[in-house]
């Protein structure tokens, strides 16, 4: 049996290996981009993705407002109190209207931010940074609904993006227990000495660091919650409220002491699964979304965990070893993961250089497919893999591709014959000198299928698809027809 993370021989890194790397560590790319990565070689390609800080970041932030949901000023508070005391209905109504207007504006800003992030993923030159930002969002899942402050959600997003491949323990975990959005989401602003709230303590261990049931008890949760008391926020910033902090002796994992929140985190990171749980999550995100804990997968995850410990919980070196390993490129691990809705949409745009159309529509479609940015279904994040797929989401996936290819919105009137095509899809084949333009439609279908699916479909389907191009010029309309049917194939849902 090979060593768990035995490196791939650089000689074995060719076009399809680069194609695989770019899909998994990013969101795929055009044939030209894959070729560029191939020419960098294994080390160069992985370095290029990992050293994202040295790549210029051209996507500007539209200038989000920080204070739509600001807390009321002292004057406003006092005016409100007086209005209540005086039963001044008009003034109270006015305050209520102001609040509702702010909430409306904030929801709009959240939608704008959702569009901004999706656009960023489509246009970024730093695919791994965005992919890891998405990973952390699913890992430290926080939903806008209970947080009700788009700026706090954006600040959290920035924490993930700035530390996308950085220090898990000292920056991300210690950052997340200080993060206003997370504090609000898991009610730690209401976790007080006199009335502890266990929500953050529980999820910190169950979901963020150790995994459910891995080496902690219900008592550890209760005691951990006491350690987290007083961690709250004021306006946009974390504050430690010592009056609400329980400074008594706590016993966590059998260690007695006057533990604070950071002590609690340090204690968590002495537990055996503190390095393997996060590596298990990374493995399922990058390598195999259906992974069962078999001897082979656990050997790789445990080796990743050892690397993680050696690197003091920094993520870079672990990903570097993974992306350069034989295990990662093994044929049984290619084209086997179900694309998340975001991956589906972003990858379609990037590989075919499609216009993003109306990004709001794309986000709506992703929500219907089960993935709404800034609104994961729960603190557990999204269940990946086949959980994305049912008969309904499959139609939405296929229909979203039809929308991207044609600009026709789902549910609109019957087609008008394809005369409205505004994007020249023929560029997908026009660069190929050896694709005869009219008399060999099967060659065109075969090339497009291989490029889009990563695998070759059976002859029955290839012939059916070729018939769609038979007797036609390989113009925009014909290529669009071919791509529409190819992207409706089940294989297109995999990456």
């Amino acid at each position: 049996m090979p060593r768990p993370l035995e490196p791939l021989d650089p000689k074995d890194f060719g076009y399809w290996e680069a194609h695989h790397l770019l899909q998994r560590a990013g969101f795929g790319g055009s044939p030209e981009q894959v070729l560029t990565l191939t020419e960098m070689g294994l080390d160069g390609a992985v370095d290029h993705l990992l050293r994202w800080r040295s790549v210029p970041d051209p996507v500007a932030d539209p200038g989000f407002k920080t204070d739509i949901m600001r807390p009321p000023t002292d004057e406003e508070r006092q005016a409100y109190r007086m209005a209540r005391r005086a039963d001044n209905e008009a003034a109270l109504e006015q305050a209520r209207m102001r609040r509702q207007a702010a909430q409306r504006e904030d929801r709009q800003q959240m939608a704008t931010a959702r569009d901004w992030w999706l656009t960023r993923m489509i246009e970024t030159s730093r695919p791994l940074q965005e992919k890891m930002t998405l990973f952390w969002h699913g890992h430290f899942a926080t939903g806008y609904r209970p947080v009700e402050d788009s700026w706090h959600m954006l600040k959290q997003n920035e924490l993930f993006r700035n530390n996308a491949t950085g220090d898990f323990k000292n920056v991300l975990v210690k950052g997340i227990i200080r993060d206003p959005a997370m504090i609000k989401y898991l009610n730690n602003n209401q976790n007080r000495r006199q009335a502890p709230n266990e929500n953050l303590a529980r999820e910190l261990m169950e979901l963020f660091t150790l995994g459910e049931g891995n080496g902690y008890t219900e008592d550890d949760i209760k005691e951990g919650a006491r350690a987290l008391t007083g961690f709250t926020f004021r306006d946009d910033d974390f504050v430690f409220n010592s009056r609400n902090h329980d400074s008594g002796t706590k016993s966590i994992f059998g260690h007695r002491g006057n533990h604070g929140a950071d002590d609690f985190v340090e204690l968590i990171f002495t537990r055996p699964t503190s390095s393997t749980w996060i590596c298990w999550k990374l493995y399922r995100f990058f390598v195999d979304d259906a992974a069962a804990s078999t001897e082979q997968s656990m050997a790789v995850v445990n080796e990743m965990g050892r690397q993680m410990q050696r690197a003091r919980y920094t993520v870079d070196p672990v990903l570097e070893a993974l992306f350069k390993s034989k295990h990662f490129y093994h044929p049984t691990r290619r084209g086997t993961m179900v694309k998340s809705p975001i991956q589906l949409v972003v990858q379609a745009c990037r590989t075919m250089d499609l216009p993003a159309r109306n990004v709001r529509r794309l986000n709506d479609a992703c929500a219907t497919m089960g993935q709404s940015l800034f609104s994961p279904p729960s603190v557990k994040g999204w269940d990946a893999g086949t959980a994305w797929i049912n008969t309904s989401t499959l139609f939405t996936r296929q229909n979203t591709l039809v929308y991207l290819l044609t600009g026709r919105e789902p549910g609109s009137n019957p087609w008008d014959g394809g005369g409205t095509l505004d994007h020249d899809m023929s560029r997908l084949v026009s660069h190929l000198p050896d694709i005869p333009r009219r008399d060999r439609p099967k060659d065109a279908a075969t090339y497009l299928a291989r490029f889009l699916l990563g695998t070759m479909p059976d002859d029955y389907r290839l012939n059916t698809w070729a018939d769609l191009a038979r007797g036609r010029d390989l113009d925009a309309a014909t290529v669009t027809r071919l791509v529409a049917i190819i992207t409706a194939a089940p294989e297109y849902q995999l990456c």
Partner: protein
């Protein structure tokens, strides 16, 4: 039937000899039909072999952990008011007090005033409440507890209980429309070894829009799935799902578009139940429908939020029940309402409640014996602040399986649980 579908029985028979190798690509339930070639096509839509004739089971899931003590209010227990000084529902007869009912077993219990829709079903003899439903060694994680309820398995790790029911009763050849879930994901409860649910949020988009390009595209799409038997796990799953989607598309769209016969209040759950009522009326071969409403994780300032949720649940259930009655189908439909756990007896410091254990469960339909069943858990004899369950949820499952779906519950639940005498 003008729709041309290469996987349809007619085509399958015509091409049967030519495409002998393609037999494996046809969904299993169609193969069976093809074997009995004399069976009229309509037989596909009326009933499912091996399943109780015409009986339908609807599951309503309240996600997040509904606060049972503030839904069915134990106003006769002083401890309730001691443990919940600011969030309790006051006694019947007071302002915003609990609603009293004359139904059997209601002494000392009342309904949250926002849950009036459900109360009217009780008063009407169309509903029952099972008290103190839970399971041993309660898990207070939303996800784990939900998995336990869905699987009917104390470690939460297996197929769904209704998925196993379909696997067992249909000889492994369930109709792809046997189970329908409204929502963007398919609940674990409906996933079996062979069984998967049809699920969707909007019926009008339950089709491939690329077929609008032209008729050639429409034709090409029929064969786009490929052979599930020539693929590994994930791809095979995708291909089977793609086939199920094609087969169920037009039937489901027509069915769900029927206008309601009762006045639904609006809201997410209401919309879902309205569609379910329409599909029942259109006589889809569906035997289990699954709908969900989230938002019950009321850790803070719960009063207003909880009331809004209960109002929607109660009023939607009432409208659903009325619609079925107007259709004349109410006698065919049993509805169960559950949540993954109740909430802690004592309120927390934030005007809310933390994750708890046992809670009431609700059954609706004229076949249900009206009233309260089981024993209300004690509010003083607690397990670290939480209620001790008095009825195992698998006893409810066993009752539904045996007395409604007419199947051997032990084969589905891998154990024999004592039934409740709640279904007539």
């Amino acid at each position: 039937m003008t729709e041309h579908n290469p996987w349809s029985r007619r085509d399958f028979i015509q091409r049967g000899t030519v495409f002998a190798s393609m037999a494996s690509t046809v969904p299993v339930f169609l193969q069976q039909t093809a074997a009995g070639a004399a069976t009229p096509l309509g037989a596909l839509t009326s009933s499912i072999p091996g399943m109780a004739q015409d009986r339908i089971f609807v599951v309503v899931q309240l996600g997040g952990g509904n606060d049972g003590l503030n839904t069915i209010v134990p106003h006769g227990m002083d401890e309730y008011y001691r443990k919940r000084p600011s969030i309790s529902i006051s006694k019947p007869g007071t302002t915003d007090g609990a609603l009293a009912s004359g139904v059997r077993g209601a002494e000392g219990l009342g309904f949250n005033p926002a849950f009036s829709g459900f109360k009217s079903l009780m008063d009407d003899g169309r509903a029952a409440v099972i008290q103190g439903v839970g399971y041993p060694n309660p898990n207070r994680s939303h996800f784990s507890s939900m998995d336990i309820w869905h699987s009917g398995n104390p470690n939460g790790r297996s197929e769904g209980w209704l998925g196993r029911y379909f696997d067992n009763t249909c000889n492994g050849t369930p109709d792809p429309q046997a189970a329908v879930a409204i929502g963007s994901t398919s609940p674990l409860a409906l996933i079996g070894r062979q069984t998967r649910a049809v699920s969707f949020e909007k019926p009008e988009l339950y089709r491939w829009t690329g077929e609008d390009i032209d008729n050639d595209m429409k034709q090409a799409y029929r064969g786009v799935t490929g052979d599930p038997n020539k693929a590994d796990d994930t791809l095979a799953f995708l291909r089977r799902t793609a086939m199920d989607a094609q087969i169920s598309s037009s039937k489901v769209r027509q069915a769900a578009s029927l206008a309601p016969l009762a006045s639904f209040p609006g809201g997410n759950l209401s919309d879902q139940l309205r569609m379910v009522a329409a599909m029942i009326r259109a006589d889809l071969p569906t035997r289990v429908y699954y709908v969900t409403l989230g938002g019950f994780d009321t850790h803070a300032n719960q009063a207003g939020q909880h009331a809004r949720l209960l109002q929607q649940v109660g009023d939607s259930l009432k409208a659903f029940s009325d619609d079925l009655k107007a259709q004349g189908n109410d006698g065919r439909v049993l509805t169960m309402v559950f949540s993954e756990f109740g909430r802690r007896v004592a309120q927390n410091g934030s005007g809310g409640t933390d994750h708890g254990t046992a809670a009431p469960l609700y059954l609706i339909g004229p076949m249900v014996k009206p009233g309260f069943f089981g024993r209300h858990p004690s509010l003083t004899d607690l397990d670290s602040g939480d209620l001790k369950y008095t009825t195992d949820f698998r006893q409810v499952y066993a009752s539904v399986l045996e007395d409604w779906l007419k199947t051997d519950s032990a084969a589905v639940l891998h154990n024999r649980f004592q039934k409740l005498n709640v279904i007539a």
